[in-house]
């Protein structure tokens, strides 16, 4: 973990509710896809944990959904503004377990961390398949970004306005995969748990106090004891999760 003052390079809407923010600054504490930043915003006490969508040396991209007053304040940050962040938090995804053809399953604003994961898997000569789930066509983002990586990307919408009608988990039967990685809402996780045929990793979300393991604000119970989502997670293996 490192405290970094990032500078906003880009802050733009991808959909009416989802924005993409590109930041410049020290990214040396971010070592794995699936880690997060904890952002201090003017006028708020608690930092906001936001997953890293992509990073390289000196540059990090986050996607966020405007759901409350904190994310509404983020939307207003103009290029050139600075943000105090605790950088490189959380365990991140473990790509060593992926096998040759992992499945990446994202739901809504859970999709962002899968982007860098996908790039890492490709860099390690794996052949990922990506499944993205949205409520409706007007909420879709990052379809083209994944497609540009050259991976097979399938979309499901709950209302059927784009791609396959139904839940993203409905796309899983019929696909051959060696392992899976997923991030998204809890009902989606439970549906995946029902149909998944391999081991996999789930990235969880929770309201956090500190984000670095001190306050026990985001604890959960697992098959291997109590864990903190912020430091022992947010990524947990299928075998340790109690549903």
């Amino acid at each position: 973990m490192k405290q970094v003052i990032y500078t906003v390079l880009v802050n733009e809407h991808l959909t009416p509710d989802v924005c993409r923010m590109e930041l410049s600054g020290d990214t040396s504490a971010i070592t794995k896809p699936g880690q997060f930043l904890n952002l201090k915003l003017d006028g708020f006490t608690l930092r906001r944990p936001i997953s890293v969508c992509d990073f390289d040396e000196g540059r990090v991209t986050i996607l966020y959904k405007i759901v409350g007053s904190g994310t509404a304040a983020m939307e207003k940050l103009a290029p050139g503004s600075t943000i105090d962040a605790l950088s490189g938090l959380g365990n991140g995804f473990d790509i060593s377990k992926s096998g040759s053809a992992p499945l990446l399953i994202g739901g809504g604003v859970g999709i962002p961390p899968l982007y860098k994961l996908c790039k890492e898997l490709l860099a390690h000569e794996r052949k990922p398949t990506v499944l993205l789930g949205f409520n409706s066509k007007n909420e879709i983002f990052f379809e083209h970004e994944f497609a540009e990586l050259g991976v097979s990307t399938l979309i499901a919408t709950i209302d059927g306005s784009y791609g396959t009608r139904g839940f993203v988990s409905d796309l899983m039967p019929g696909i051959d995969y060696s392992y899976f990685y997923t991030c998204g809402p809890m009902p989606m996780f439970k549906a995946i748990e029902q149909v998944a045929e391999t081991s996999g990793q789930f990235s969880f979300e929770e309201r956090m106090g500190c984000g670095f393991g001190a306050c026990m604000g985001c604890s959960c119970q697992t098959r291997f004891g109590n864990k903190r989502i912020c430091v022992d997670g947010p990524v947990f293996e299928r075998e340790e999760i109690i549903w």
Partner: protein, 305 residues
């Protein structure tokens, strides 16, 4: 050269800065960020006789000038703390620590305090009778002078270590509780714990916190904490550890002028994990600015006559 040393019941601390229980774990996460031996001491995670998972999540909510938590005393239990946490703590913290203890019965408080009181690394016991996040315990002992006195005398009988009682602000008259603890033999008073509060999610029309209510801490409670330290200082002659929303060197000095012999820092650690180190480093400069040579000399300095 200014003197930042303070004294708690015969235990001399290099400075009055103590991270408060529940915001600092057993120090490990912070020891990875800076050398925590710069601290006066720290109060470790509230420990109970038996292991506890605590309350369901969400346990945390943003609120004006602070946050609400409803962790519910999650801890691995006193046996595990003694067998694992304290030996590990000894590898990165060379000073004595404050053992924060909670319980659900008088016997349980006494048992846990007796076990922790035997540990060499424990400088004093801080008995939490003020946790707002558990039922049938915690705060119920801290909202009634007789019950507070009963816990105090039970704990005093089982340990030779100084016993400080951590009080709740969620009472009609905190001075009565403090006096009852002093009369029952308490060596000092810690105040304040968090204030019972809540937030409601307007879209869901439900409380944000799973346990509905929680403890409000952070900058917003500083004036309330300061006022209570000031009032208790006038009523008791034992040392006070002041806390509640402290996040700057000026806050520390205000707390000491109100009557605190040492000052704990809580919520601020969660937002800026280096805050205690920064305050300790800046304290001499702030002392000089206000013409303070020795912190000991300003304790209670805001009281007339």
């Amino acid at each position: 050269m200014v003197d930042t040393k303070v004294n708690l019941s015969g235990w001399e601390l290099d400075n009055p800065i103590i991270p408060s229980s529940g915001t600092f774990g057993f120090g490990k996460e912070f020891a990875e960020l800076y050398d925590i031996n710069c601290l006066g001491s720290f109060s470790f995670k509230g420990t109970t006789r038996d292991p506890r998972f605590g309350n369901p999540t969400p346990r945390i909510a943003e609120c004006h000038a602070g946050l609400i938590n409803s962790v519910g005393l999650q801890n691995p239990g006193v046996e595990h703390v003694i067998a694992h946490e304290l030996p590990e703590l000894g590898t990165y913290f060379k000073k004595k620590v404050i053992a924060n203890v909670s319980g659900f019965s008088i016997d349980e408080y006494a048992y846990t305090c007796e076990q922790l009181g035997k540990q060499d690394c424990v400088g004093l016991l801080e008995v939490n009778i003020s946790c707002p996040n558990v039922r049938h315990g915690g705060m119920s002992f801290g909202t009634n002078p007789e019950a507070a006195a009963e816990v105090t005398s039970a704990v005093k009988q089982v340990t030779d270590k100084p016993v400080y009682i951590k009080l709740s602000p969620n009472v009609t008259d905190i001075v009565e509780i403090a006096k009852a603890c002093e009369q029952a033999g308490a060596d000092g008073i810690s105040l304040i714990n968090t204030m019972l509060g809540m937030r409601i999610d307007i879209k869901r029309r439900k409380p944000v916190i799973a346990n509905r209510m929680g403890g409000y801490s952070g900058r917003g409670i500083f004036p309330i904490a300061l006022r209570m330290v000031y009032q208790v200082y006038e009523a008791v002659s034992i040392p006070i550890i002041g806390m509640g929303g402290v996040s700057t060197t000026e806050d520390v000095i205000e707390m000491m002028l109100a009557g605190a012999s040492a000052v704990q820092i809580g919520a601020a650690n969660l937002i800026d994990p280096w805050i205690c180190k920064k305050i300790i480093e800046k304290l001499p400069e702030t002392m000089q600015k206000y013409g303070i040579n020795s912190l000991k000399e300003i304790i209670g300095g805001a009281h007339n006559g």
